[in-house]
């Protein structure tokens, strides 16, 4: 009994409840007349779409900067890359690589500045990160209106000025990863393109965290005094981690767009940090500890609930409470992580 309790404690009660809830959804699903294969496909697709944005949380948690509520800044770099790539008019798979290429310098510059800023506000990074994200989204809303874009697929038709709120990636990099290396079994299909794409970056981050620089970064996060004593430049490590997180955020949104099919501008990225933050926390990370496994488990659980609850609920009680449930579960999870004793040292 004690052993079972210990196991539950190490797994975390909220995580256990969420896992059981998701399992229950999958068990109920066939009886509610839902195609399990299609649902699994949906969950995996959402996993491929969102996993890199969740991965973007890892470097900053490692260096002790806390949860990256400033993810919208990375997303904006991605949006700049995406719009610039579409502006060139080059179609097909190349546009995806162009988008990554164009977004990289923005991500590096924004991440560098953002990292410098966070170094000056040690101890309350998360609050300030949240508002850095919000302000940058609001600032870019003005920019999307006045930047001189011309491509007819992106600009408002009747004024010829200012970008549309949503831009289709159709013809450019729509489903560029989703449709590659696709395995189909009945109603179930799995896209290895997306999964391999994620796996590559997950592996790079994992390998990086085991290099000398990566270990130094972890040391900064877990024990800054010790890190300083062993001659590690704390501010440099933290800035590096923020740049990595920002760049992964840019990459993440591009990956999201290819699956979702649209580039969302203006207020679109405002709250995009919350699902990513709560996914990694559901996966077992805390404010100052995270690894790749947390990312994978967390994204599957979070996206599983988000995609399964509406369909099951709709067919059972004919009301869609899923959006409200999503708000409660994801923010409740963040709240749980913030109020836990283990993280209170920071």
């Amino acid at each position: 009994m004690d052993k079972a309790m210990e196991l539950i404690r190490s797994f975390g009660l909220p995580r256990l409840i969420i896992t059981l809830f998701l399992l229950a959804l999958f068990i109920i699903a066939p009886f509610a007349g839902i195609n399990v294969g299609a649902s699994l496909t949906d969950v995996l697709g959402r996993f491929g779409q969102n996993a890199i944005m969740v991965l973007a949380m890892v470097p900053m948690i490692h260096s002790g900067c806390g949860l990256n509520f400033g993810l919208p800044l990375g997303i904006i770099s991605g949006l700049l890359g995406a719009t610039l790539a579409i502006e060139t008019g080059i179609q097909g798979p190349i546009s995806f690589f162009l988008a990554i290429l164009y977004s990289t310098p923005f991500a590096l510059i924004f991440g560098w500045g953002y990292g410098k800023l966070l170094n000056r506000v040690k101890g309350s990074e998360m609050m300030i990160a949240t508002y850095v994200g919000f302000s940058s989204v609001a600032f870019m809303s003005i920019m999307w209106l006045i930047l001189p874009y011309h491509s007819p697929t992106m600009v408002w038709g009747y004024t010829g000025q200012g970008l549309r709120t949503t831009i289709s990636t159709e013809g450019f990099y729509y489903h560029i990863l989703r449709d590659s290396l696709n395995l189909r079994i009945g109603s179930f299909s799995i896209s290895f393109g997306e999964i391999i794409f994620f796996a590559v970056f997950a592996f790079i981050i994992w390998a990086f965290l085991h290099t000398k620089t990566g270990t130094a970064m972890t040391a900064v996060g877990s024990n800054p005094v010790f890190a300083r004593a062993s001659g590690i430049n704390i501010d440099k490590q933290r800035t590096l981690s923020v740049i990595m997180s920002t760049w992964l955020g840019a990459l993440g949104i591009l990956c999201y767009q290819q699956g979702y099919g649209f580039v969302q501008l203006y207020q679109g990225p405002m709250y995009m940090a919350m699902p990513a933050v709560s996914a990694i926390l559901i996966g077992g990370a805390s404010v100052n500890k995270a690894n790749i496994t947390n990312v994978i488990i967390g994204t599957i659980l979070y996206q599983g609930i988000v995609s399964m609850t509406p369909s099951v609920m709709n067919s059972l009680i004919h009301t869609d409470m899923s959006e409200v449930l999503r708000i409660i579960v994801s923010n409740g999870m963040i709240l749980y992580a913030l109020t836990r004793k283990s993280g209170a040292s920071r």
């Binding site: 506000v121 508002y131 609001a138 003005i142 209106l145 006045i146 409200v324 209170a344």
Partner: protein, 378 residues
């Protein structure tokens, strides 16, 4: 020597008041561009003060207790909205309606405040982000209750309030019954011309209510519990050793703030006349905090002066920018995005400046301590 000191003083003054200064400059630039008449602007500002000051004042007490900006004031706003929803569905009109709404909102606000305080005690040192997430979390619970519970579980049957499907509250609820009832109860008109048109309307009763709250806050600072809160805000450990129940004091600070926010929301909405069931509360949280910061408050220090200066400057900017944007670039949309950016930007800037200042002060005190030690050794 003398000149150096004044230079330093000027720099300190600029550094400590940079946010209000930016806003004064911004407003000064926008007033001629927008081209509104002075009378219109003053009238608008009076309306905004009437609407918002109670809400912004509710933020002062947690700051006193060292808990930072209480993003959880949204919880109080939700309680106030629930009170108003009930009153509207029961068709209670005018001031009795508002009083009843306040009576319904009070226990809800106390409960929510207690919950919020408990949570914040578990997250000492990061109260702000936690209270912010609490407001998000409770927003979900609020939606669950209002969108699915009301009409289905909680008996509300008014057609004006409930959606045609039979449960859930409408997106916008018309508060005609209580609209401006405090403001119109006793209002005087000044500077009107012979026909009785134009001029400014001053809602005296609302101003009296706001003044009473200001007096309460000033008085509260001097009471035993107010002193305790300030001690807790200064240093939690010292306060604990002095025999103050730190946790209890902190919870109390949040409860008081939440209850005031609930009353503030009722006043705000009765002035507006319509309730945006699913937006009003989260919007008001951001605007109130931004307004307080614009007035020159910081995370650890805020006064009544900051509240009023902040409301005047922030809302002046709010009125001016869309029109200024239209006149300048031909698009009101830019002005609207601009004011959203300014609201968020101001909060970011104040938070960053506060952190940098605190760190500098800490470093300086450490330096003086080191020098003192060296001298003692010598």
């Amino acid at each position: 020597m003398r000149k150096e000191i004044t230079n330093k003083d000027v720099r300190n003054f600029l550094a400590n008041n940079i946010v209000p200064i930016i806003f004064i400059v911004l407003c000064a630039v926008c007033i001629p561009i927008a081209g509104y008449s002075g009378e219109y602007l003053v009238d608008q500002i009076i309306t905004r003060i009437v609407r918002n000051s109670f809400l912004v004042l509710s933020l002062l007490i947690p700051i006193m207790a060292g808990m930072g900006l209480n993003f959880g004031m949204t919880l109080g706003a939700m309680a106030g909205q629930i009170g108003l929803i009930f009153v509207t569905s029961w068709n209670v009109v005018s001031i009795p309606g508002l009083l009843l709404a306040a009576i319904i909102a009070t226990p809800i606000a106390i409960l929510l405040g207690w919950f919020c305080g408990k949570m914040l005690n578990m997250a000492k040192g990061r109260e702000m982000i936690t209270s912010y997430m609490i407001s998000f979390f409770m927003n979900g619970v609020y939606q669950l209750i209002v969108l699915y519970g009301m009409g289905a579980v909680i008996p509300i049957h008014s057609n004006q309030v409930i959606l045609p499907r039979g449960y859930g509250v409408r997106n916008t609820v018309d508060l005609l019954n209580v609209r401006k009832s405090i403001d119109n109860f006793w209002s005087i008109r000044i500077f009107a011309d012979e026909n009785g048109t134009g001029g400014l309307t001053i809602p005296v009763l609302t101003f009296i209510l706001i003044a009473i709250l200001c007096v309460i806050i000033i008085w509260f600072r001097k009471t035993k519990i107010g002193q305790d809160m300030r001690a807790v805000g200064q240093d939690m450990e010292v306060a604990r050793e002095a025999g103050i129940k730190v946790e209890r004091t902190r919870i109390l600070a949040i409860i008081i703030s939440t209850v005031f926010a609930a009353y503030g929301m009722i006043i705000y909405l009765s002035n507006m006349g319509t309730l945006n069931t699913y937006n009003s509360h989260s919007q008001i949280g951001m605007f109130s905090i931004a307004a307080l910061l614009v007035g020159g408050a910081s995370v650890s220090r805020a006064s009544i002066k900051n509240v009023f200066l902040g409301i005047i400057l922030f809302h002046l900017m709010f009125i001016l920018t869309p029109q200024a944007g239209r006149n300048l670039i031909g698009q009101a949309q830019i002005g609207e995005f601009f004011r959203v950016f300014v609201s968020y930007g101001v909060i970011t800037l104040s938070l960053v400046l506060y952190e940098i200042r605190t760190r500098r002060e800490k470093a300086e005190s450490a330096k003086t301590l080191a020098i003192g030690q060296k001298e003692a050794e010598a």
